[in-house]
Symmetry: C2
Subunit: 328 residues, 2 copies
Amino acid sequence: MTEVSFETVKAAAKRLEGHVVRTPLIKNAALDTLSGGNLYVKPETLQHGGSFKARGAFNRLLQMNEAERAAGVVAWSSGNHAQGVAFAARELGIAATIVMPTDAPQIKLERTRSFGATIVTYDRFTESREEIASDLANRTGAVLVPSYDDHDVISGQGSIGVEVAEDFAAMGESLDALIVCCGGGGLTAGISLALSGLSPATKIYTAEPEGFDDTARSLAGGERVANDPAARSICDALLAPEPGHITFGYNKRFVEKGLVVSDDEVRAAIRFALFEMKLLVEPGGAVALASVLSGKIDLKGLNAAIIMSGGNIDPAMTAAIAGDEHSA
Amino acid sequence: MTEVSFETVKAAAKRLEGHVVRTPLIKNAALDTLSGGNLYVKPETLQHGGSFKARGAFNRLLQMNEAERAAGVVAWSSGNHAQGVAFAARELGIAATIVMPTDAPQIKLERTRSFGATIVTYDRFTESREEIASDLANRTGAVLVPSYDDHDVISGQGSIGVEVAEDFAAMGESLDALIVCCGGGGLTAGISLALSGLSPATKIYTAEPEGFDDTARSLAGGERVANDPAARSICDALLAPEPGHITFGYNKRFVEKGLVVSDDEVRAAIRFALFEMKLLVEPGGAVALASVLSGKIDLKGLNAAIIMSGGNIDPAMTAAIAGDEHSA
């Protein structure tokens, strides 16, 4: 395992070309009017597997040798990393086993299975996904692909930062601020490393749901603190118990501040994305947008990028939010 | 009014730079698997006003002189052209009056109003929108902006064809086929003219809903035929009574064939776009995608582009389709 740096992120971005979707930056007049800024949304909802996770997965799997590929991969995930790994594994002809919580959104379980992966379920609140996955890896010889606390995975997610920086440079615009959805912190760490090399003046903010604001509190206190195990949120993609060990090492250096939003603010952001931007986003993928729409950060007069990290939301929840005029 | 040609379309594409969103081409693995082709979707759902209509509107309004601008503009529309004209008018500081059917989707009425336009309603099945709008224009001196049968409007919509051709050229790929959603035929005519200059080998297909397949039947017979006034469809954006006079003159030269889809096939396409592609599309904007998903055209082994022309669907219909597992 190599150390992670701006160089490894840049190399990952190059390695991923042709394997992942280079997602566009999306401009929306209503969003600019509401925020008073010059905002661009990066919709990783359009990525293979419906979230940014395919990036880290490909970056890890593409570096496996023949013997490793033959033994397959194992991962644990609430769903998006599962789909990212399953998609990348199928494309590269590698067998994948994914450990997923029983209460993961139905669409994430189905999609992961549809990519040909074997699924092993566990109870999110009583069992350890890490132990189940490690045990599987030990018994089968398969390579474990962590969802965030891993150098290759962090570098892969960082390719988003490379694309954002390149696109802003191509437009001749500076990037003043970037807001990223944060669970374990791998996406934040990767993007931060990318911008440390390509746009060091950019201020980086994390966004998290209430009850899972471990990164915000850890940043404020300077050391890793965990969430209350009793906490619940509709943001199923962001329920990591505490900041990653590796990821927080970078995030405490690079992140300006952690923003926190309520589930209701997330629902309003999902509805805004759907009807104002015509983009379907899942709860965990909408926290960065929610932080802007709910006024948690002032972007007046600034050039900013908002990461929309995933779109794997169940049809039933989509129907409920689309039909609820009070969540607007 | 100038004649329309490849040159006027190219000039429009240039004129619109900075005024409209250059929408990306979106790749989706599930769509490629289902079709067996190498497909790209052009989501004009991400355009200002939620559909391609802002293009034609800007192209017309940007060419008005000071005296014309001071007198304002009038348009009739089921909703998307209304929003396109209202958005462009607001951006350019021109007053807009829009004649809209009483049964237009609520979201289209609200959005048009939100862009500062004055709305005059009429009954789609008993009154003539053309007469009401012409009368308004005559009495106020305002400029009438037709929704499709107009040279400047056709040239503006054609900028989509310029972008598609440029993007395929940049990828080093040929464009074998393009499928476009068709109402009055302005979008089809504009794109056809663009490709006649930039990619003449591309085969162009229109897609229409059952009951409003006037272009398909007119193409088959070689002359314009109208729809049964009793026909109904959920595709509110595509309810033109017959092909435009100007538009059909081009479309009969350039279009290979007209494809026709049922409302149920449209619902399934909306659901596919939402959950597989994470894009919200309205019924009329989904007919081209529906024609591919329902097997109306064989794209196996071909490079093709599908125009997704608009995303202004009511929340209630969105909730109903998202929640209906039988429409998948």
